[in-house]
């Protein structure tokens, strides 16, 4: 069977729109990525390997991906909760809370970073009380997680909200009438319906956290081998005019992030496909 590109539609313009899409994405995405890869390829293999497998760099990968993952997981749970409250309940100030959710998008990340340090430093408003329990947040890996959780908050909320709003209340009612407890209804009816949206939000929050720089560098303290995130090392290399080294680490991050996103996308595709298969 021949593969059909064109499909008849009342809104023509397939050629034009696809052409524009390819051009636009090339300009904005492919070109910089290609330049990065090209630049890296000029580097001798031995140098490349030495740069990207340096213990200090390897530690930073662990922190960057690990903290991003934890941050995204925290957002998965609490973002879903925030979305639930915003959609399901009427309360005074709901619109204000709804608007607040987007703040991490709008606020300059450096401002957020400084604000977080002020709060969580051992002399800060919150930090001093937590310090009493022997837990330190500022200048530790915990601080990195806090910052990455903060900047990823809006994603899960914003992806889950519309799906939750469109979800027919009859589904929950049907489940309850058949004798299911509230928890069972949540687990077997509500969560599976929200799963694709949850996964999308999770993937976005994770991707955003992996690339985050501004808000982290203040609270992390940037201690080599412990609280250095990979983007920080890239910036440090660039500042020392080691553009090749920066590009090499960038390439590794790019490939890793892309692979992870692809995996999450596949998971998401599977979860939506499961109940719409023909």
């Amino acid at each position: 069977m021949a593969f059909r590109f064109r499909q008849h539609s009342v809104l023509p313009g397939f050629g034009l729109t696809l052409g524009f899409t390819v051009f636009y994405l090339s300009l904005l995405l492919l070109l910089p990525v290609a330049a990065l890869l090209f630049y890296t390829l000029q580097m001798p293999w031995v140098d490349f390997w030495a740069t990207v497998s340096h213990p200090q760099v390897v530690e930073s990968y662990k922190l960057s991906f690990g903290a991003s993952l934890i941050g995204a997981l925290i957002n998965l749970v609490f973002g879903a909760l925030v979305a639930w409250v915003l959609v399901r309940y009427e309360f005074p100030g709901r619109r204000v809370v709804d608007a607040l959710v987007d703040l991490p998008f709008a606020m300059p990340t450096a401002v957020a970073g400084i604000a977080l340090v002020t709060l969580y430093a051992s002399t800060g408003w919150i930090g001093q009380y937590i310090d009493a329990f022997g837990v330190r947040i500022a200048y530790t890996q915990l601080g990195v997680i806090v910052a990455l959780t903060y900047i990823g908050l809006p994603f899960v909320v914003r992806t889950v909200q519309p799906v939750l709003r469109d979800m027919a209340p009859e589904l929950e009612e049907a489940s309850a009438i058949m004798g299911a407890s509230r928890f069972t209804t949540l687990r077997r009816v509500v969560l599976p319906t929200l799963l694709p949206a949850l996964l999308t939000g999770f993937a976005m929050a994770f991707a955003r956290a992996v690339g985050e720089y501004g808000s982290v560098v203040f609270i992390s303290g940037n201690i080599p081998y412990t609280t250095e995130i990979t983007p920080l090392l890239i910036v440090a290399k660039a500042e020392q005019y080691d553009y090749r080294g920066a590009a090499a680490i960038g390439t590794v991050m790019l490939v890793a992030a892309f692979a992870l996103l692809l995996m999450i996308n596949a998971l998401q595709w599977w979860s939506t496909r499961r109940h719409t298969q023909r």
């Binding site: 009612e173 049907a174 309850a176 009438i177 058949m178 004798g179 109940h275």
Partner: protein, 353 residues
């Protein structure tokens, strides 16, 4: 399981959705709650189900007060207008849901669940769809699955909210006959909500006509259709021709036409409205005289299955007179627009105003 509803009211803000309704629904009967939208029929059904709490009044199942029993403990089956099937589960999983969520000690084992789901799917004649997803089924099939799912928990009471409302006319007619046969088979006390009088009259054992949150009339389909208690019921149960006039000494005067109103024998000179159903009017081509004969001119003639639908202009008012003529009558062969005919009501009903 019989259902007794005592003085139930439910308000939404200023709007009285259900206004002091008392009803008694006998065991094993199929009852239709019939009314226009906003008449409170769905709210009443949801109160019976426990999805809605009444502001006042009680609901009893077989004499036992269930007003405060949580919806998940009531043992009712509920079918929603838009099916409310779980999209992420197969047909089998949907039907099995009510059995699988039972507490462990009363939950049937896998084999038993399998057997019961299979039996239910056979009952709704859809056993071949077990491994499909709801999105792969037609509307009529989905509603039958929803019914099987509701029956899986062996409910004491089956409630259906506009079960055929989202289906097209042909599937709807088929499905309601099928529901009637199914009910004759399983005999569970059932209540269904509808705004379609034909559906209510055809399917149910009892019809409860509702309007503005109140019960206007209840009775068998024949009782409510043949002896409507008031103008609302008369008008809602089918098409009507309506004439305003005055009633005096057992006769209603409308323009120069007199219609019998023996039930108002003792009334003298009161405002009244006379109702005549389209199929209760006879059309005659040759001139006739008589108390109730209306001279009229044919405006349009259209075919509606076994009857001709005729609209006529007449001297008694501006509204067209609607008449249904069986197509096997001689007059049906020759009727055409512009023709003068004489309409003789065979039956009419007069309500005082």
């Amino acid at each position: 399981m019989s259902i007794e509803i005592d003085n139930v009211s439910r308000r939404f803000g200023d709007f009285a959705a259900v206004d002091n309704v008392s009803l008694s629904l006998p065991q094993g009967e199929l009852t239709a709650l019939l009314g226009p939208s906003g008449s409170g029929k769905t709210t009443l059904l949801r109160i019976i189900a426990g999805l809605e709490r009444p502001d006042h009044g009680t609901v009893k199942f077989h004499g036992e007060d269930t007003t405060d029993v949580h919806v998940s403990d009531r043992g009712v089956g509920f079918v929603f207008q838009h099916y409310a099937l779980f999209k992420h589960m197969t047909v089998f999983e949907n039907v099995a849901y009510g059995l699988k969520v039972k507490p462990r000690r009363v939950r049937p084992n896998q084999a038993e669940i399998h057997r019961r789901v299979k039996k239910l799917l056979e009952l709704v004649q859809l056993d071949w769809t077990a491994h499909r997803y709801p999105s792969q089924l037609s509307g009529g099939q989905r509603q039958r699955i929803a019914l099987a799912r509701a029956l899986a928990v062996e409910p004491k009471v089956l409630l259906l909210d506009e079960p055929f409302g989202a289906l097209d006319a042909k599937v709807r007619a088929e499905l309601r006959r099928w529901l009637r046969r199914l009910h004759d088979e399983i005999h569970v006390t059932s209540v269904f909500v509808t705004h379609d009088q034909e559906e209510a009259l055809e399917v149910s054992d009892r019809v409860v006509v509702m309007n503005h949150g109140r019960v206007e009339q209840e009775g068998s389909p024949r009782e409510v259709y043949d002896h409507p208690a008031n103008p609302f019921v008369y008008g809602f149960l089918g098409q009507v021709n309506l004439f305003r006039g005055r009633v005096s000494g057992g006769w209603a005067e409308i323009g120069g036409v007199r219609l019998p109103a023996p039930e108002h024998r003792d009334v003298s000179d009161a405002g009244a409205v006379a109702y005549i159903r389209p199929h209760d009017i006879e059309l005659v081509e040759e001139e006739i005289t008589g108390e109730g004969v209306i001279r009229a001119v044919v405006e349009t003639v259209s075919i509606a299955g076994a009857v001709l639908r005729v609209e006529l202009r007449h001297g008694l008012g501006d509204d067209l007179l609607h008449v249904e003529v069986p197509r096997d009558q001689p007059v049906a062969q020759t009727l055409q627009a512009g023709q003068v005919v004489y309409a003789r009501p065979k039956q009419s009903r007069v309500f005082l105003q």
